[in-house]
Symmetry: C2
Subunit: 464 residues, 2 copies
């Protein structure tokens, strides 16, 4: 666990004590959170082990921590006495580890670069730029994104085409409502994907119609007979099966859109994270008039920024912006300006490069470990992104793995949890969707160990 | 004009030149923007006037600036040659000054404190806090807001009751849709208010039903016969007429809500800005189970933060959050954590105090000037907030003042522009809604001068 404590170099012991107390009082270290062994923390901070143990002991004495020999030290369950605080005391999550698909490593967020970008954006913004942001986004952010997306993803469009949203989810809602407002009733979705996206589309008044997914991605030939007004796709890296949409299928989607006037929504959630230097460009480039390109800062930076973007065909822009005005939502201008500053300074590219190396190493480690520990399993999907599919050894059920993992404090879902309809829950070999991005680095091996153990337990063979 | 240029202390002339070039190339100084006289800028920067004049001349030579003797220097109208940039070149706004109601002074935003709060929030946030924010908001922000609102506005509620939204607008949309989803059809609104709020409610499927407004605020006795499911009010400071809701009327609203189960939405947009130390608490405190309290950081900090908050009765919380999940929108966790850090450090209180003094001085100056220059006019409304109503001298029409002001580059609206229905456009004496918060300090006197001139011109008496 990384405590993220700011400890003063010159008075480390007192400072550690203060920092821990503040983190507990402020609710950042929540009840039940385990602290690292005093020995570990002492090494990290360059302190004598006894000094750390004394700090722990004092806080135990104050009722802020609890400790038991052999069980370690953790944050106490009740509000600590002391300075009044209205911060809520959270119950600790029952899940301590998380390997769900699509989550990035929160500890990898470039905190310093973001703080610097914010400060720079603030020092440079005109008073007008600190007013109400236009619904399409701040001009500087739209310009920076247009440049970046053209360069990194081959997206075709100028800053005029860019809309800055609250993540991909808000974009999807805006486009879905715009489609419904024009009389659209049905939207094709991939047979495996985020349930939240399907629910969002249903809330827009569109019926999600599943398209089968095979090793070439979504079976888009089915679009012709599906009577749909639009289609939501993950062409670069199907979520969660991990395959790219085959070139012939990309061409087929474009033909369908041109023939029918149907709208394609491209969810390019992790397009920048391909490890083999063969990144395939955005589908949008093949038909900019028919594709809404959508991206997000949630994977490369953090979901906590609440930043996403769309590149919207001119024919749909007014409709999408009208939906946004109606919703009362917008994206904070300061966050947008900080993103622009981050991109302009090259820090966004640097972050993506760093993460790409880190996630590639994780993916390779994952493949090696599974091949070694679970010979009957198979890792499926592109060498890309922050998740892959692990097909289970014969006879092991997804639900049993999820249950065995949960009993060990780890969240991980089976492929069937992403199925758009019951028939798809059993249409493919049982597999776990493993998001290898989420755990902090120092808990990655541990997380994989728990997955392996859970699969062995589910297979009735706990010792491998 | 504050250029917000970062000029290097040791090489000021070259640095000024670079900073200006970058600001123009980056689109921050837009075409048509006037630069300060070289004499003024020289004094500000501690440079010789000639040095500044030379910098201006070089940039004029490059086509980046234009100048004319007697008319000053401004940013040139066409994209400057030079390093390629994808930043758009914006057309300058035709309006150079803005006295519309409800806009805060963008130059007053505590940039340094906000950058510091962001850095602190980032250094303290757990990796989990940098994940997807829950739809109700980040726990630390909800706790800080619950404490602040209880202290500053007497709001009754714990952090559990707080929802963090994108400004008041998003909250209003969520609550409006929740009311409609329960079968609500009609919502009472004040006969004068933001057209955008009425449009937002209509988009939620609710019919806005105007309540007359008199010197005691909204005539809430009319609620009983209005067959409405909810009512939107600005009890602390009616927008835009500037009067508070009289105590008897506050009690009447509460009785109506308790009797009918109708929902009250309290828009407390500037409740913290009362100048006479007689701040009246939130209406919500009188009936927490029936009132959604709504507030915003747009006035005290900046609309660019995109931060607002609601304190929502328990019986409505799930409905409101369900609407939020359906919209795909949320509020960026980092922005929320920075707000919490700002409040915790006392910087939010300090900012409010500073602004209160500044806005009080502006209000007093406004009253003095109008009394002196326009004896037939009358300033109406509480000594509070960042706007007031200026009733016009006899025989002068609002539209003529708006037109005369626009011809002079100033935006200012008449009261009728805020009327909820045609009959209210002429129900009160002609008056201008003057938002004295918006202009930066160094252009405040000039803005008031233009208003006075526009009123004199509209009255056929340009020289007073």
């Amino acid at each position: 666990m990384d405590l993220h404590l700011l400890v003063d170099r010159d008075r480390k012991v007192a400072s550690l004590e203060d920092a821990l107390r503040a983190a507990i009082a402020g609710g950042r270290l929540t009840a039940g959170t385990r602290l690292p062994p005093s020995r570990t923390l002492a090494v990290d901070l360059g302190l004598a082990r006894n000094s750390v143990a004394e700090v722990y002991a004092r806080l135990v004495g104050e009722g802020r921590l609890e400790a038991r020999v052999g069980a370690g030290t953790w944050v106490a369950d009740r509000p600590a006495p002391g300075p009044a605080t209205t911060a809520p005391v959270h119950r600790s999550a029952r899940f301590d580890l998380d390997l769900r698909g699509g989550l990035p490593d929160g500890s990898a967020f470039p905190r310093t670069a973001w703080a610097r970008a914010t400060a720079r954006a603030l020092s440079e913004a005109s008073a007008t730029a600190l007013g109400y942001a236009p619904p399409e986004g701040a001009p500087r952010a739209r310009a920076a994104l247009a440049e970046y997306l053209a360069r990194a993803r081959g997206v075709v469009g100028s800053s005029e085409d860019v809309v800055v949203t609250h993540g991909f989810g808000e974009l999807l809602g805006l486009v879905g409502r715009a489609v419904a407002a024009r009389g659209g009733r049905r939207i094709a979705v991939e047979a495996y994907g985020h349930a939240s996206h399907r629910e969002l589309l249903a809330a827009c008044g569109l019926e999600p119609v599943p398209l089968p997914v095979d090793d070439d991605g979504a079976v888009v030939d089915a679009l012709a007979g599906a009577s749909v007004d639009a289609v939501l796709l993950t062409p670069a890296h199907q979520f969660p099966t991990g395959v790219p949409l085959a070139p012939a299928r990309r061409a087929e989607v474009v033909r369908w859109a041109e023939r029918t006037g149907g709208l394609v929504i491209e969810d390019d959630y992790d397009g920048v994270f391909r490890f083999d230097h063969r990144a395939i460009g955005a589908l949008q480039a093949q038909a900019p008039a028919h594709v809404v390109y959508g991206g997000t800062a949630s994977k490369a930076l953090s979901p906590a920024l609440g930043l996403g973007w769309g590149v919207v065909p001119a024919a749909w822009r007014d409709d999408v912006l009208a939906q946004r005005r109606r919703s009362g939502a917008a994206t904070a201008a300061i966050t947008q300006l900080a993103l622009a500053a981050l991109i302009e300074a090259g820090d966004f590219d640097r972050t993506v490069r760093t993460l790409r190396l880190r996630y590639r190493a994780r993916r390779e480690r994952f493949e090696d470990l599974m091949a070694e520990a679970l010979p009957g399993s198979r890792v499926v999907g592109l060498a890309a992104g922050i998740h892959c599919l692990l097909e289970l050894p014969d006879g092991i059920a997804e639900a049993d793995v999820t249950t065995a993992a949960a009993a060990r404090g780890l969240r991980v879902d089976g492929l069937s949890a992403y199925a758009a309809a019951p028939e798809y829950a059993s249409a493919r070999p049982p597999a776990m969707v493993v998001g290898f991005g989420a755990p902090p680095a120092h808990r990655y091996e541990e997380s994989l160990g728990v997955v392996i153990e859970a699969i062995r337990v589910a297979g009735g063979n706990p010792t491998g």
